[in-house]
C-alpha cells in the first residue's frame, strides 16, 4: 500500500490544484448559471435559441477548439484578456485562474441545463400565490423559487465540479501544463504516461481521481435528497 500513499510533491500539488480549480469554476459560474437558467426557462426575447446554442457549444465542440478560442479571447493579447489585465489586474493566461475559467466554460452547459430544467418544473401558480400574500418579485424568487429549485442547483453544481475535475483539452490548450500552476490531475496523469517509469504515479493519480469523483457524486446524492425533503417533494 505504500506506493499508493507515497505521493510526490508534484502529485500533491496536482491534486490540490485540481480541487481548487474545480471549486472555483463551480462557484464562479453558479450565479451566472442561475441567471442564464432563469433567462432560458422564463425569458421571452429575440435570439433566445441563439443564446441557448452558444451556451451549449462547449459541449459539442472539440475541447481543443474551446481552449484555443479562450486563448484568442482571454490570452495576454486577446481583446478581453488585455482589457481585464490592464484595468482589473486579472490575468488568465498560464495561471490557475485560466484553468478555472476553461473548466467553468466547459461545465457551464451542464450546469445551466440542470438549473433550467428545475426552473421549468416550478409551479408558477405558487409564485402567483406568494405575490397575492404581499411578496414582491425578488422576495418571491428568494422564498419560493430558489428553495424549490435547490435540488436542480445542487445537481448543476456537482455536474460542473465533476466536469472540471476531468477537464483536459481546453485547459491544456489555454493555460498549458505547468506543474504547480496549471497542471491539474488529468494533465499530471497525461504527463506521467509520457515519461518512462511514470506508470505507478499515473495509476496513483487515476485512483485518487476516481475517489474524488465518487465522493462528489455521493455528496450530491445526500444533498439532493436532503433538499428534496426540505422542499417537500419526497
Amino acid at each position: 500500500m505504500d506506493w499508493l500513499l507515497d505521493l510526490t510533491p508534484d502529485e500533491w500539488r496536482a491534486i490540490h490544484l485540481s480541487i481548487k480549480v474545480a471549486t472555483w469554476a463551480m462557484l464562479a459560474s453558479l450565479p451566472l448559471g442561475v441567471g442564464v437558467g432563469l433567462l432560458l426557462a422564463r425569458g421571452r426575447f429575440w435570439g433566445k435559441s441563439l443564446l441557448n446554442g452558444i451556451i451549449h457549444l462547449p459541449l459539442v465542440m472539440p475541447p481543443v477548439v474551446t481552449g484555443y478560442l479562450l486563448l484568442l479571447g482571454f490570452g495576454k493579447r486577446g481583446p478581453i484578456g488585455a482589457f481585464l489585465a490592464e484595468y482589473f489586474d486579472i490575468v488568465f493566461s498560464f495561471r490557475w485562474t485560466g484553468a478555472a475559467l476553461a473548466c467553468a466554460v466547459m461545465g457551464f452547459p451542464l450546469m445551466v441545463r440542470a438549473i433550467r430544467l428545475s426552473i421549468e418544473a416550478v409551479d408558477r401558480r405558487l409564485e402567483a400565490a406568494a405575490g397575492t400574500l404581499g411578496a414582491s418579485t425578488p422576495w418571491v424568487f428568494l422564498t419560493i423559487t430558489l428553495p424549490l429549485i435547490l435540488p436542480g442547483i445542487i445537481a448543476g453544481m456537482i455536474l460542473s465540479f465533476a466536469k472540471a475535475m476531468g477537464e483536459f483539452g481546453a485547459t491544456i490548450t489555454f493555460v498549458s501544463n505547468i506543474p504547480g500552476e496549471t497542471q491539474t490531475l488529468p494533465s499530471a496523469i497525461y504527463t506521467l504516461t509520457q515519461v518512462p517509469g511514470g506508470d505507478a504515479g499515473a495509476l496513483r493519480l487515476t485512483l485518487i481521481s476516481i475517489a474524488i469523483s465518487m465522493c462528489a457524486l455521493m455528496a450530491s446524492e445526500v444533498l439532493a435528497r436532503r433538499a428534496a425533503k426540505e422542499t417537500g417533494l419526497q
Partner: protein, 376 residues
C-alpha cells in the same frame, strides 16, 4: 365593503364585459363554468391586467386603464384562496400561515395567529408539511394563510369545488364563522346554489362574460330563471327569521317571520336571535284550500303574484305576508289546480326540508372583527 367593477377584457376567444357595483359582507360571484368568474377574481387580485376599465374596492383604485393605475398584486393586500390551495410545499403549515405576515405593513397587521388557527381548527397541523394534509385541511390552511396576511379583502375561488361532500360539510362552518366573526369582506366564487345560499349576503350572477343580475341574496335566489336549469329547484326564498321559542319535547324550534310562524328542526341559536332560512322552491307544495290531515307542519297563506311556466315546470311566485316566496311545481299540477295570478292559495312546507343545512346565522354586517385582532 363596496366593490365597483367596470371592465372589458379579452382572453383568446372569451370576452369579459362587466359592470356592477356591490357591497356587503360576502359577495358571491355566481355562474356556470366558463362564465368568467375566475377571470374576474384574477383581475381583482391583480394576476391579470384588464384591457380596459377600472376596479375600485372601498374607494381604493386597484386598476384604471384611463389613468394608467395598476397596483401590482403584492401591494393590493387582497387575500386569495385558490381552488387548489397552492400551499408552499417546502414550508410547514406554520411557515405557510406566517408567510404573508412579514409583507403587511407593521401597523396594519391586525390578524392574530393563535385566534385564526383556533377559528379554523388547524392547531394540530402546524408542524406538518402540506403534502401530508387531507384536501379539507389543506383548504383550511389556505384560508388561514390568506387571513394572516391581514388582507383588506379576501377572494375565494371555489374553495370547496375540489372536495367531496363530507369535506365540504367540514369546511362550511369555518367559512360561516369567518364571515360572521371577522369583518373582512369576502368575494366568493361558486357555481353551487347551496353554497351561495348558505354563505352569501350579496350575489353577482355572471353568464358568458356578462353580468346577468346582481343584488341581495334573498332577491337573486328568488329568480329561478337566473339559476342553471339543473339547479333551479335549489333556488327559493331566503328569509330572515327570529327564533321565537325552542320546543324541547319534540326537538323543534319555532320561528317568527313575516310569513307567520314556522317550525324547523331544532337549531342551536338562542331565542331572540335571528337566523336566515332558505325555503327551496322545489320543497313547497301549493294547495288551493287549507289542507288537513297532512304531516307537513308549516302551512302558510299567500297570494299568487305571477306564474312562469316552461317545459315540465311552472315557477309560481307567491306573496306571503309581504314576502315573496318562489315555488316550483309541475306544469301539470299548475293546470290541474287552475292556478292563476291573484288567486289565494296555501304554501305547504315540510319542516324536515328546512333542516340545519338550510339554516344559517345571518350576517349582520357588523361582525366581530376583534375576534381575530390581537391585543398587541
Amino acid at each position: 365593503m363596496t366593490l365597483a367593477v367596470d371592465i372589458r377584457h379579452r382572453q383568446g376567444e372569451f370576452e369579459l364585459d362587466l359592470r356592477f357595483e356591490t357591497g356587503g359582507g360576502l359577495v358571491a360571484l355566481f355562474g356556470p363554468s366558463g362564465s368568467g368568474k375566475t377571470s374576474l377574481v384574477n383581475l381583482i387580485a391583480g394576476l391579470l391586467r384588464p384591457d380596459e376599465g377600472s376596479i375600485v374596492v372601498d374607494g381604493r383604485v386597484l386598476a384604471d386603464t384611463a389613468t394608467g393605475v395598476f397596483v401590482p398584486r403584492h401591494r393590493r393586500r387582497i387575500g386569495y384562496v385558490f381552488q387548489d390551495a397552492r400551499l408552499f410545499p417546502h414550508m410547514t403549515v406554520a411557515q405557510n400561515l406566517r408567510y404573508g405576515r412579514w409583507f403587511a405593513p407593521r401597523a396594519e397587521r391586525y390578524a392574530d395567529f393563535d385566534r385564526i388557527v383556533e377559528l379554523l381548527g388547524i392547531d394540530h397541523l402546524l408542524e406538518r408539511r402540506p403534502g401530508r394534509l387531507s384536501g379539507g385541511e389543506r383548504q383550511r390552511v389556505a384560508i388561514g394563510r390568506a387571513l394572516l396576511a391581514s388582507p383588506l379583502l379576501v377572494l375565494m375561488d371555489e374553495p370547496l369545488a375540489s372536495l367531496d361532500d363530507a369535506r365540504k360539510a367540514e369546511i362550511m362552518p369555518y367559512l360561516e364563522r369567518m364571515r360572521d366573526e371577522t369583518k373582512i369582506p369576502i368575494v366568493y366564487v361558486s357555481h353551487s346554489v347551496a353554497e351561495v345560499a348558505r354563505l352569501a349576503t350579496d350575489i353577482v350572477v355572471l353568464d358568458n362574460g356578462k353580468v346577468a343580475a346582481s343584488g341581495l341574496t334573498s332577491q337573486i335566489l328568488q329568480r329561478l330563471d337566473l339559476l342553471p336549469e339543473e339547479e333551479r329547484g335549489e333556488g327559493g326564498a331566503v328569509l330572515e327569521m327570529e327564533i321565537a321559542a325552542h320546543e324541547a319535547a319534540f326537538g323543534m324550534s319555532l320561528l317568527k317571520s313575516a310569513l307567520g310562524e314556522l317550525r324547523i328542526a331544532g337549531v342551536n341559536t338562542p331565542v331572540g336571535e335571528h337566523v336566515r332560512v332558505r325555503i327551496r322552491a322545489k320543497d313547497i307544495l301549493i294547495a288551493t284550500e287549507r289542507p288537513r290531515g297532512l304531516s307537513a307542519l308549516n302551512i302558510i297563506a299567500g297570494t299568487i303574484v305571477g306564474i312562469r311556466s316552461g317545459g315540465a315546470f311552472a315557477d309560481v311566485a307567491l306573496n306571503c305576508g309581504g314576502e315573496e316566496v318562489a315555488a316550483r311545481i309541475t306544469r301539470q299540477s299548475c293546470d290541474m289546480l287552475g292556478l292563476a295570478a291573484g288567486q289565494s292559495v296555501f304554501a305547504v312546507i315540510k319542516a324536515v326540508s328546512l333542516d340545519g343545512a338550510n339554516t344559517w346565522q345571518g350576517f349582520d354586517g357588523a361582525g366581530v372583527r376583534e375576534r381575530i385582532v390581537g391585543e398587541g
